[in-house]
Subunit: 380 residues, 2 copies
Amino acid sequence: MKKNYLLTPGPTPLPPEVCEALSRPIIHHRTPQFQEILKEAHSGLQYVFQTKNEVFILASSGTGAMEAAVVNFLSADDTVITVEAGKFGERWTEICSAYRVNCEVIKVAWGKTVDPKDIAEKLRQNKKIKAVFTTLCETSTGVAEDIKSIGEIVKDTDAILVVDAISGLGAIELKTDEWHCDVVVSGSQKGLMLPPGLGFISVSAKAWKLQKDSKLPKYYFDLGEAKKAYDKTDTPWTPAIGLIIALNEAIRLIKKEGLEQVFSWHRKMAQATREAIKALGLELFSPQAYSDVVTAVKVPVGIDGEKLVKTMRDTYGVTIAGGQSEMKGKLFRIAHMGYIGEFDIITAIACLEKVLYEMGYKSFQLGAGVSAAQQVFAQK
Amino acid sequence: MKKNYLLTPGPTPLPPEVCEALSRPIIHHRTPQFQEILKEAHSGLQYVFQTKNEVFILASSGTGAMEAAVVNFLSADDTVITVEAGKFGERWTEICSAYRVNCEVIKVAWGKTVDPKDIAEKLRQNKKIKAVFTTLCETSTGVAEDIKSIGEIVKDTDAILVVDAISGLGAIELKTDEWHCDVVVSGSQKGLMLPPGLGFISVSAKAWKLQKDSKLPKYYFDLGEAKKAYDKTDTPWTPAIGLIIALNEAIRLIKKEGLEQVFSWHRKMAQATREAIKALGLELFSPQAYSDVVTAVKVPVGIDGEKLVKTMRDTYGVTIAGGQSEMKGKLFRIAHMGYIGEFDIITAIACLEKVLYEMGYKSFQLGAGVSAAQQVFAQK
């Protein structure tokens, strides 16, 4: 009879409207009925992406959409910039390398943000750079990049700006068109409050020009084919029908609230979480750079980080995330993204306090974190 | 208040157990809870595939799994055989060509099956052929290939046998191991009674040997990475969690019935459908070669095939499929696959009779098709 709470940076909890939509009888995809649904999904995604560009829906996880962002715009031996500030920045380099695209890697210490000037410098040195691959919110560190400033730099070059917005889209600000983001990829299981299984990718006019010259082999992720189908409100392959139906429900919820309101709610949840963490005497992984998507916290000295996460989840039903790759066991991460409310944050902090106490970390008064979060939520 | 009935060859109707599973709260994928689910899914798929090989679960539609079957085992300039007996056989050639793999195409007229001897002949002529790409059931024509005989031929060569079992797996017999099928791909939305969004692929020891030499670029569909994760009961990227949870429910239903019983039920439904069609004086597209998955019927002279399908669907709520590609408007197709029962077939035939009458095709007595189907269902 354990009650479960999910506060991970993907998947995020499903609103009841989404659960209900997922349980409906399935319909066929080559019908006027589904065309109506697809049309609504396309325009709903344009709203969330803040773009007039086409946003394609792929039956894949976010990594598939990232691959689409590489194979559709590049050729072997092209050179690109990849910004690596964590596990997901590194993924850009891995995908490009798998397709023999040369990467000029800008390595940033985990927990830090890239200096846009470093990107400008590299673009100045090598005029042949075709694309700049970045990450809106690096889930592994909880840090958001300054995509707006990067956009200002890249727009005046021949390169396209590619943004991995898998974590962050629909949770924090990303103005695809206004910030000159040529290709934005995302996934369903984060700010969009759906189960994983859908990838999204938007393509600007500047990116379509590159697409015409791209020679990398592709079939399933071929956006040329996707575009032909899109123009007829169709998909080239069988789409993930059920998830797209649920997507419309999720976007309807976001629209009802309004994007601005959704973003400010995420800001508030993030602030409450950070204040709670500080009130417990714990250290934020990155006090200067952070995002309103997920908060990464250093595991205090003497505490087993993996056991902390495991106990919260398996004993008390509160699932947060541990550290990834080089930060395994050294971090824990509390997500405040999507369908997560004030009292989910309170629950997570209360459970964290409880397990820290049990594990012998007691340099705070029980309730101190919860109280700090409550104070943030009480502010207008 | 129109009641809807789905008799298309993918997606197929969802059992209530699947709908319920899809509507559950989501759980995180890097947890012991999900590992249990994934373990059950892997062994359940081995049961349905009738194999001891690993069966990988991809977040993609069936076409993604087909692409995985190309990019993991081949290199550019390799030569393969593709059997084209319809739209989905042609897809093998398209994917191979996109990756610059040379295809020796065996073209078979739509509605016919390949003569296994033609495959043997080509393999004899060119010892460098790396793979033979076939289709278990060609959805566009309703015809099943003799995979068993093809397996007997291919097993004694250096080539691997690749089978597109997207339509057919879990509905008609396919003995992956016993028939020497090295790579079998499938999807979720057919015999497995799920929404689309999962691709499956099994890999034999012979295929793994080819995989080691494959130089085609890949990342998202890289089965080498998938294998490393599989061995730890994990996935390389975020899996389509909700669909995998529902997959276990679907396979539980299949297991409860038993594969043999499921296959004989499909045989019965197919026979009932064919007898009904004949009783209406209509012509089967392929009277000698057919499958127990979907029945393709020639649109009678003077009748608008597209309007027939449209009226059944939009006026009466019964969704069947029209013809694809070169058979557009010339065929209609009634699926009898997955969670479709006796009275769904009766409904489809009754609706077909009604609409044929309305459209002026009246060379049968109303009820003749239904009666013929009933007689088949009444047999022990």
